[in-house]
């Protein structure tokens, strides 16, 4: 394993690579790609944090927990609520901010505030030729040149290895609370969530746990949360029995949604299906026999647990959205592909960009292959 201690060293290692490199942060994603492991854990540390400007800059290898602790001390947080995959994937390791950005890992609050990519203000990275590149900066508004920050977020280490990330952070709310609406069917649940999300009450979480019901979260100042809960009860009462969850219960429940707790420790493959929220009930109805599911993002994110080796994409096709294979053994991943194949014109652009940033195809074996 190569663990560079500086960006310059990282650049040298990539430039000098003679074979494929498996880019890794904390390795919590559970499987290494082919080739020598190139680990960014050595590029760690918070280099700047200005709470009054809502900005933080850190090395890509910085553990997410270290960033969260620094923010908590100033009553701030990473608002996009990155999930911790370790329990679901049964892996160990220390999640890094580089891994989070490279995979655009975003939790339940995404529907209200945006994804990891929306909070990334600037990046430094080394591309597949060993060239050091910076893009964006550390200010909240920046349209100077192309936005390669977004391009790097969600590129799964296939365009370059991140060395530094600057991000926007937000104040942590004074408190939170949730409502559980006793709906049994996905269709009712999505309708209730849609009603809540289409209200002025700024719902920051909207999920459906089939054993529990539809859940909506409110965060903010104490008085405001109380007021909004009441207002939401008013508009949601027609959808089912309503139960209130206090701050602690609410926090625990959303941690579980974030980390896909209902599937932890259960056998089978885990898929993540991204659709228009209103399409979720139809998708759920088309799931193979024996599959289990839960909904987040108002229905826009469907987590599916199904028998190992099931080709879920084929079962759902054609559908508007995409399905990612999050947990499966190597054979299934190789056969089905982790990511949804793209339409030809789009795939050509993606391949073109990869070929420019990593012409030798050394980073993560030229990409996490689609089916």
């Amino acid at each position: 394993m190569m663990t560079p201690q500086s960006e310059k060293e990282l650049a040298g290692m990539i430039a000098g690579a003679t074979g494929p490199l498996a880019v890794q942060g904390g390795g919590t994603r559970g499987f290494a790609g082919a080739g020598d492991v190139l680990c960014s854990a050595g590029l760690a540390g918070i280099t700047l944090y200005e709470p009054g400007a809502l900005t933080l800059v850190a090395g890509a290898g910085t553990p997410v927990t270290e960033i969260e602790a620094a923010l908590a001390a100033e009553h701030q947080r990473l608002a996009f609520e990155p999930m911790d995959h370790r329990a679901l994937l049964d892996t160990t390791g220390t999640p890094t901010i580089g891994g989070v950005m490279a995979a655009n890992v975003s939790g339940p609050r995404r529907i209200a505030v945006g994804a990891a990519r929306d909070f990334a203000l600037g990046v430094r990275f080394v591309d597949g030729t060993g060239r050091i590149v910076k893009n964006g900066g550390r200010v909240m508004k920046n349209v100077t040149g192309y936005d390669l920050v977004k391009l790097m977020c969600g590129s799964f280490g296939t365009l370059g290895v991140l060395s530094e990330i600057s991000m926007k952070v937000l104040p942590a709310p004074e408190t939170e609370a949730s409502l559980v609406i006793g709906t049994e069917l996905a269709e009712q649940a999505v309708a209730a969530l849609s009603r809540a999300l289409g209200s002025p009450f700024e719902v920051t979480g909207a999920a459906f746990l089939p054993d529990r019901g539809a859940v909506v979260r409110i965060e903010g100042f104490e008085t405001s949360v109380a007021y909004r809960l009441g207002a939401l009860e008013g508009i949601l009462s027609g959808f089912g029995e309503i139960e209130r969850l206090n701050a602690d219960a609410s926090h625990a429940l959303w941690r579980g949604v974030r980390d896909v707790q209902p599937f932890v420790g259960r056998a089978g493959d885990v898929w993540r299906v991204s659709v228009k929220p209103g399409d979720a009930p139809g998708i759920v109805a088309a799931l193979p026999e024996g599959a289990d599911y839960m909904l987040d993002w108002g229905g826009g994110l469907i987590w599916v647990l199904c028998a190992a080796g099931t080709d879920l994409r084929a079962k759902l096709a054609p559908f508007a959205g995409h399905a990612t294979l999050v947990r499966a053994d190597a054979g299934v991943r190789a056969r089905l592909g982790v990511f949804q194949p793209e339409a030809p014109a789009l795939a050509a652009l993606t391949q073109g960009v990869r070929a420019r940033f990593d012409p030798r195809g050394v980073l993560n074996g030229g990409g996490v292959k689609a089916a």
Partner: protein
């Protein structure tokens, strides 16, 4: 401002190009008469003008694709155009180009409240997107001051922001999908009604690419329910530095206003003379707006005013009614107009870390004295996006050049303190040759590599964004082929 020399081979083919365009477009959609093409000679950066060779106004994605395919085959550069309100010269033509205007494409294709999205053709103006949904209580959040005129097309190309982006984000945070036509006519669908588009985030790089990667013909935008209400508080301080510290304290306290606007003395005085909004006589003024129910607004404003009181404001005026809110916003909204009354002005758009605000304002004041040109500052303080307005006299020889040099110095200062050249207006031609101040050769190469993939011949808006010397070899690819 240097622009590339028009390609004589392209100019010589004008008749053939026009004839081919007329085969795919109705005759009133092809403008080739020299007098008529002048309507497209500039955008809102009016100091620079150049009529295009031809202007076309397609009415569908299909027509856009046909136009681009023809221009691609003929090797003709294309400059996309929305409403022409760019302040950076993004839509400025070259004499050998086809201006492709999307103004005729302004339909709403779908409104979907259950999924909180709207799909529109991109020629639609920003304000009329909200107009299509507001009766049902919804709105489209990004709100550039030019929203009455500017099109979604230009908003996407410039990744435009607005006064309320502190809370709602800029265009890129509210854009879910596009139909993009590439220079060779290929139509690509990217993203849509779902949150995660698979694969690389190409949508993220298309937004803000200033019309250089493709022509965006349709867009899926996120819409939100309107807040129950909104009200501002106005505060005056006798020192810029104190106002800056107050902004930072408000943010640290965990209140997240929708807008924090800042005006300095020259700007306050100009707007008072112009609009008579009744602003206090002071060095710095903040307008802080919050949203929610009446009681929630009262509560948040109380918290904000308590913080402000610790900074000894010379005035603290809380709005209690829509009329009072309108009065507080009146001066801010007329600030550009007020400065325009005094003189011609150039509006800068650099962004700085909020912590550098006092230092940067002091330096701009010193530079104003050195250059002998007055400056008013009005800007989005919550996110550090400055808009220094430098006053000059267009009729006085040398004044524009002096103003440009001064402006460039201010932008360099923004980069020096950790900020950037442009926060929301884009690079265009205006900041093109300053790009090397913020980015080195490798940084620019990485960006240009993306354009190489989307537009290998560099025919789309080629003379913008990148310093001409940096893009020179690429722009010659097509010339050499002819």
């Amino acid at each position: 401002m240097e622009m590339p020399i028009p390609n004589p081979a392209v100019l010589a083919r004008k008749d053939r190009v026009v004839a081919r365009l007329l085969q795919v477009l109705p005759s009133d959609a092809v403008i080739s008469d020299v007098a008529e093409t002048r309507a497209y000679e500039c955008d809102a950066l009016t100091a620079y003008k150049c009529a295009p060779m031809v202007a076309v106004l397609p009415a569908s994605t299909r027509e856009v694709s046909d136009v681009l395919r023809i221009c691609h085959e003929e090797g003709v550069p294309v400059v996309p155009r929305g409403s022409g309100t760019s302040l950076a010269g993004g839509a400025l033509p070259t004499a050998d180009c086809v201006i492709l205007g999307v103004a005729r494409m302004n339909d709403v294709i779908e409104t979907d409240y259950a999924n909180r999205i709207i799909r529109v053709q991109t020629g639609r103006t920003n304000l009329s997107v909200t107009g299509a949904v507001e009766e049902d209580g919804f709105f489209y959040a990004p709100d550039p001051s030019s929203q009455l005129a500017c099109a979604i097309a230009g908003n996407i190309a410039m990744n435009s922001g607005g006064a309320h982006c502190l809370k709602y984000g800029v265009t890129t945070n509210n854009l879910m999908g596009v139909t993009l036509v590439q220079m060779d006519g290929t139509v690509v669908e990217i993203g849509g009604g779902y949150l995660d588009a698979g694969g690389l985030d190409l949508l993220g790089v298309i937004c803000g690419s200033e019309g250089q990667l493709g022509v965006v013909t349709e867009a899926t935008l996120r819409i939100l329910h309107k807040p129950e209400g909104a009200r501002p508080v106005l505060m005056g301080f006798d020192d810029n530095e104190v106002a800056g510290a107050c902004v930072s304290d408000i943010i640290k306290a965990g209140v997240l206003p929708v807008a924090i606007e800042f005006m300095d003395r020259p700007c306050i005085e100009a707007t008072e003379a112009f609009a008579g909004a009744g602003y206090p006589d002071c060095e710095a003024l903040l307008i802080v707006e919050v949203e929610g129910s009446d009681a929630e607004i009262d509560d948040q404003l109380a918290r904000i005013m308590e913080i402000a009181r610790r900074h000894n404001p010379v005035e603290l005026r809380e709005s209690k009614s829509p009329e009072e809110s309108a009065r507080i916003w009146l001066g801010r909204k007329s600030a550009f107009g007020a400065m325009g009354q005094i003189n011609d002005y150039m509006c800068l758009d650099g962004t700085i870390p909020v912590s550098s605000l006092p230092f940067v304002l002091r330096r701009i004041g010193e530079m104003s004295a050195e250059y002998g040109l007055r400056v008013g500052n009005v800007f989005h303080a919550g996110d550090g996006n400055m808009h220094p307005l430098i006053l000059f006299d267009a009729n006085k020889p040398g004044d524009l050049e002096l103003c440009e040099t001064f402006g460039a110095e201010v932008l360099k200062l923004c980069v020096e303190v950790g900020g950037c050249l442009t926060g929301e207006h884009g690079v265009g031609i205006e900041k093109r040759d300053l790009m090397h101040v913020q980015y080195n050769k490798d940084d620019l190469e990485a960006q240009m590599a993306v354009k190489d993939v989307f537009d290998p011949q560099w025919l789309l808006n080629p003379a913008k964004v990148f310093p001409l010397d940096a893009s020179d070899a690429r722009r010659r690819i097509e010339m050499a082929a002819q």
